[in-house]
Amino acid sequence: MAPSRTSTVKNKHAANKSGIKGSKLSKAGPQDGIVQKKRKGPPPTAKGTRPAGVLKKKKKKVYSEKELGIPQLNMVTPVGVEKPKGKKKGKVFVDDRESMNTILAIVQADKEGEIESKMIKARQMEEIREARRVEAEAKDQERKAKFDDTKDSLRKKRSRSRLPGVEVDGVKDEVATGSNALKAKKKRVSFA
C-alpha cells in the first residue's frame, strides 16, 4: 500500500478557483474527502441559546486607536518626525543680555562650587598626608631611641664585664673566680 499523501493548500480561498470554469479543479470538492454540508438559511439550533452568545461577544470592550496608544508609524520614530506640540520648531537662540547673564551666573556658580570642593579636598588630603608624615616621623624616632637604648645597654654590659667580680646576667666572670685568677693580676714594672 502506498502511503497516503497529504497535500497542502497554500491559499485556501484560491483552492477551488482555478480560474477556468468547469475545469477539473473547480469541479473537485475538498481534497481531504470530507464533504461538509453547506448551510442554507438559519442554523437549526434553538433560538433561545444563540442570541445569548452573540450578546456576550458584543459586550467585549472595543478599544479605539487612541486608547491602545499604538504609534502612528509602527516603528521607531525618527527624530525629525516627532513634533512636540506648542514648541517652537528649530533652535532656540539666546541673544538677550538677561538670559545670557542668567546662564553665565549659573555656570559660574557651578564652577565656583567645583573649585571650592577641589580646594577642600586638596586641603583634607594635605592634612591627612601631614598627619601620616608626623606619625611616621614619631615612629622613626621611637625606633631610633630603642635602637640607641639597646646600643647603650650593650656598651654598659661590655664595660661592666671588664670589671672583676661583677656578675653579668647571673654568670660570674670566669676570669675573676677561676683557677687562674692569679694570672689576672696586672703585671707591674717598677724601676727602683
Binding site: 533652535k91 532656540v92 537662540f93 539666546v94 541673544d95 543680555r97 538670559s99 545670557m100 547673564n101 546662564i103 553665565l104 551666573a105 549659573i106 555656570v107 559660574q108 557651578d110 564652577k111 573649585i115 577641589k118 580646594m119 586638596a122 594635605e126
Partner: protein
C-alpha cells in the same frame, strides 16, 4: 552666522569659566549706560565662535555665510560632539580675565612656545591656592601672555615636585599662530 543656542552658550561659558574669574560677566556688559549702547555678542559661523561687537555682527549679515571668513575675535570652535575647544586666538580675552596664572622664566619660554608642557624648573611664579586640573594662563616674566594650559598638580603638591616634573599641561600657545597657520582661521 547666527547667535548661540542655550546649550552652546552654556558649554562656551563653562569653558571660559575654567580660566577666568568672576570678571567674566564684563565680557557681555554694554559698553556704555545708554539704552542703545553697543555691546559684545557671541556669533557662530560654521562651527567657529566669534566674540564681536553687535554693530559689526549686524553689518556682517550682509555677507554670505560661505564667504564670511572671520569677524571679531575667534574664541574657538565647537567639535562634532558638541564640546568647545578654545583656540589660541582667545588668549587676549582669557589673559584679561585670568583667575590663576603661571609665570615662566625666560629659559622656559621657548620650550612652551614649541608646544611643550611647563615643568617646575621653568616656573618663575605661580598663583597661590590653585587646585589641580584648573585652567591657567601662562605668562612670561614680563607679563606677556604666552598661552594657556591646565595645572597638573595643586600648588601645594607641586612644591614637593622634582624640577623636571610637569606643573601645567599645555592647551594652546602662541607658537600655534605659526604651526597651525593654515587651519587656525579656516578649515
Amino acid at each position: 552666522m547666527r547667535a548661540l543656542t542655550e546649550e552652546e552658550t552654556k558649554t562656551l561659558f563653562a569653558k571660559l569659566a575654567n580660566y577666568t574669574g568672576s570678571s567674566l560677566k564684563n565680557l557681555i556688559a554694554p559698553l556704555s549706560d545708554s539704552p542703545d549702547a553697543d555691546r559684545y555678542v557671541f556669533r557662530v559661523n560654521k562651527d567657529r565662535v566669534y566674540y564681536v561687537l553687535l554693530s559689526i555682527s549686524n553689518l556682517a549679515t550682509s555677507i554670505q555665510r560661505e564667504r564670511l571668513l572671520s569677524l571679531g575675535t575667534c574664541l574657538g570652535k565647537f567639535t562634532k560632539t558638541g564640546k568647545f575647544r578654545l583656540h589660541i586666538t582667545a588668549l587676549p580675552i582669557l589673559a584679561e580675565h585670568a583667575r590663576y596664572k603661571i609665570w615662566v622664566k625666560p629659559n622656559g619660554e621657548m620650550p612652551f612656545l614649541y608646544g611643550g608642557n611647563v615643568v617646575k624648573a621653568h616656573v618663575g611664579r605661580w598663583s597661590e591656592d590653585c587646585p589641580e586640573h584648573q585652567g591657567v594662563v601662562v605668562y612670561s616674566m614680563n607679563d606677556t601672555p604666552l598661552g594657556f594650559g591646565v595645572t597638573a598638580r595643586s600648588t601645594a603638591e607641586s612644591r614637593r615636585l622634582d624640577p623636571t616634573g610637569v606643573v601645567c599641561f599645555r592647551q594652546a600657545d602662541c607658537g600655534e599662530f605659526l604651526r597651525d597657520e593654515d587651519t587656525l582661521f579656516s578649515g
